[in-house]
């Protein structure tokens, strides 16, 4: 056994953890284990089924594979016991090796030890260690003392796992088969069980399902038992310490300190002790390097140099590294740093590309800056007129609402305003004058809060249809001007200003 090659992290584990390690081992080497498992067990399983069929005893197909489990167990154990030392065997090698592996204990396991809950733990000890019977009993006592309960617990858990997987497979299968596709004879289970062929089929199915669940759980059972065995031996023989010591020895021998040390061991302890005592006396931790040495320090100081060398010998600080690197055999062939001519051309092309890209990016940056400026200017300019537009109606309203006395000659005043371009004011004046005159004509006090709609109502009470029409038109024109900013043409104004109410006409 070469402990250095072990592929499992050795450390003290509880037995629960060791069982989990078994699962991890199986997971890591799943392919070779199951490959060998199926190559070995599938023909035997089929042979058992064949024998059961020939003998006409279907239950034999269920019983024989179960009975032969200790035989099957050899396969995962062989693969795993090699795989943890990183010598994973192929399935061919596994099968070939079975001839040479001891058979005596397997035969015992197949006969009088068949119903043994410690099989998983007994198996690696008996098959891998191969000691004679007297020694074996003593060995078993040592090995199994704290593990008997765990090993039987493992066996029962694995039985439960197998049952769970087998039942799950059956239940899933039943769920997947639609009830309608079943033949009539199988709808009713009680009735179906009276058919002997159905009973036989059930046994065949059961043996198939048990084989599948056994194939899943049995390698796990063996792997877990093997992990328990490894853990127990790690406890008994301190394998992890063994490995650590071997590594340390390797390092020391490589560092070449062994011989030097032999001398040191004799003389050093007293010196080191003295140093330690010195350190103990001083409770305050040293603040700088000069305090450590109790004297000013310079590079040429012998004590400092030796201490520094000590520090560098500590593997945490100074370590020699071996660096492997490819070096040209004939460095003269090509001067370093001077690329070949075609490369120069390529480099020139590359430089050109880089320059172009540079240009493009600068251009993009310039575009972005310009776009930002344009946006800012437009935004500023756009915001000014909008403010003006907001204020204009205010001015207008004040001029409209302003209560100036009506001019004597209304059409002239309106025309004047219209011609000057104050169209809104002109129409406002016309509207105001018209409604005042309409109120006079209707003999009502002009209501101060009357809206355009009110005046339209009043207009409809006028007797003369021509007057009625004109007043309505004036109100509408004003409404359009005031609320929609839509103005009539010059000709329309002339029409509005002709006759009542703009002209003072005797009623």
């Amino acid at each position: 056994m070469q402990l250095e090659r072990i592929g499992v992290a050795l450390r003290p584990r509880t037995s629960q953890e060791a069982m989990d390690l078994g699962m991890a081992m199986l997971r890591a080497h799943a392919r070779p284990v199951w490959m060998a498992w199926f190559v070995f067990t599938l023909p035997i399983f089929l042979a058992c089924q064949g024998a059961a069929w020939l003998l006409g005893m279907p239950w034999l197909g269920l019983l024989l594979p179960w009975w032969l489990r200790p035989l099957f167990d050899r396969i995962p154990l062989y693969v795993l016991s090699r795989a943890v030392f990183e010598q994973t065997p192929t399935w061919r090698a596994t099968l070939r090796a079975q001839w040479k592996w001891p058979w005596k204990r397997t035969l015992a396991a197949l006969s009088y030890l068949r119903v043994d809950t410690n099989r998983s733990l007994r198996l690696p000890m008996e098959v891998l260690e191969g000691v004679d019977s007297k020694q074996r009993r003593a060995r078993w006592r040592v090995l199994s003392r704290p593990l008997v309960g765990v090993a039987s617990g493992l066996t029962w858990t694995c039985i439960a796992f197998e049952l769970a997987i087998a039942l799950s497979l059956c239940i899933f299968a039943i769920w997947m088969v639609p009830n309608e596709t079943l033949p009539d004879s199988m709808r009713d289970v009680k009735q179906a069980l009276t058919i002997p062929a159905f009973k036989h089929a059930l046994v065949w199915i059961a043996s198939g399902v048990t084989y599948v669940s056994m194939s899943i759980v049995e390698p796990l059972y063996v792997a877990t038992g093997f992990a328990l065995y490894l853990n127990r031996r790690t406890q008994l023989e301190a394998w992890d310490i063994d490995l650590a010591f071997r590594r340390l020895r390797q390092r020391l021998v490589e560092a070449g300190v062994a011989m030097v040390l032999l001398v040191c061991v004799m003389g050093a302890p007293s010196i080191a002790h003295a140093a330690d005592k010195h350190a103990d006396d001083k409770q305050v931790p040293p603040q700088n390097i000069a305090e450590v040495f109790h004297q000013p320090v310079n590079d040429k100081d012998a004590l400092f140099a030796s201490k520094a060398a000590d520090v560098y010998r500590d593997p945490r600080f100074g370590q020699e590294h071996k660096v492997l690197r490819w070096v040209l055999k004939h460095p003269a062939d090509q001067e370093p740093g001077k690329p070949p001519s075609w490369f120069a051309g390529l480099a020139g092309f590359g430089n050109l590309g880089a320059g172009l890209l540079n240009l493009i990016f600068w251009g993009l940056l310039a575009t972005v800056v310009v776009a930002l400026i344009v946006f800012a200017v437009r935004h500023l300019r756009g915001s000014m007129p909008s403010m003006e537009r907001f204020e204009k109606p205010k001015v207008l309203r004040s001029s409209v609402v302003h209560d100036i006395p009506l001019p004597e000659d209304l059409p002239t005043a309106v025309r004047e305003l219209w011609r000057e371009g104050h169209r809104r004011e002109a129409l406002a004046l016309l509207y105001r004058g018209s409604v005042v005159r309409a109120a006079t004509a209707l003999r009502i006090q002009p209501p101060i809060d009357a809206t355009e709609a009110d005046w339209l109502q009043h207009a409809r009470t006028l007797d003369d249809p021509a007057r009625r029409e004109r007043l309505i038109r004036i109100v509408r024109t004003w409404q359009l001007a005031a609320y929609a900013d839509r103005y009539p043409g010059d000709a329309d104004i002339d029409v509005l200003l002709s006759g009542w109410p703009a002209q003072q006409v005797a009623p």
């Binding site: 509880t14 069982m19 989990d20 991890a24 799950s168 340390l248 330690d276 500590d314």
Partner: protein
């Protein structure tokens, strides 16, 4: 190196080692929990049975609580341990090693519906066999992990002998190995002790019993004893 440990490094550079638990311990813990819960339920059923139909209602409510709330309550308020997990030395933690909180606990226990398929935990069993950390579907979705919580088997105290300083500086792992040897050597046979100590001849410069004594003295020195 094959191991079941999940290593998590904190921002402070501390490596936490979570010893993930696999299907065996968890199945045993579940079975124990199941037995306890059924015992409680049937005892209560006996008491509620005297109350007639109202008692049946109370019993159904109790069954519901035992099915769905028991795990969550135990995990969130009792250090991630149901009774079965406590007995087996298991604990539910978040995937980063912090204590489990309410929502992940609810998630992982609600997903028992999936793991329980088809009624006997077939899906959960296969899933935890495949997953390297032994998680079932609920654990993977909720971001939780079941770990071994109990202490590792430790050796006895290092025998007290006059300390000796190490003749040359050793790595931390190497110092740990020397101390471990001194702790565990009383559990080993004398031959094995000497065999192990002989490996370190380059360090101790002695063989056999003397080497064992020498290493024990070094361990005392490393532990800061006089």
């Amino acid at each position: 190196m094959l191991d079941t440990v999940r290593e998590i490094e904190t921002p402070e550079g501390v490596a936490l080692r979570l010893r993930a638990a696999g299907a065996f311990g968890r199945a045993q813990a579940w079975l124990l929990d199941f037995v306890v819960r059924m015992a409680v339920f049937f005892t209560a059923l006996g008491i509620f049975g005297a109350l007639g139909r109202g008692g049946m209602g109370l019993a159904s409510m109790l069954l519901f609580a035992l099915m769905w709330a028991y795990n969550v309550v135990c995990e969130v308020w009792f250090h991630g341990q149901t009774l079965g997990k406590r007995a087996l030395g298991l604990r539910v933690v978040s995937a980063d090693g912090t204590p489990i909180t309410l929502l992940p606990s609810i998630t992982r226990n609600l997903l028992r519906v999936v793991d329980g398929l088809p009624g006997i935990y077939g899906v959960g069993l296969i899933c935890s066999m495949i997953d390297p950390s032994g998680r079932r579907v609920g654990d993977i979705v909720a971001g939780t992990l079941v770990v071994h919580a109990n202490d590792l088997p430790a050796g006895s105290k290092v025998p007290i002998v006059p300390a000796q300083p190490l003749p040359l500086p050793l790595d931390q792992d190497e110092q740990a190995a020397v101390i471990e040897f001194a702790e565990r050597s009383p559990l080993l046979t004398v031959q094995r002790q000497e065999e192990l100590a002989d490996i370190l001849y380059p360090l101790t410069g002695s063989e056999g019993t003397a080497a064992v004594k020498q290493l024990t003295a070094y361990a005392n020195g490393l532990l800061g004893r006089p």
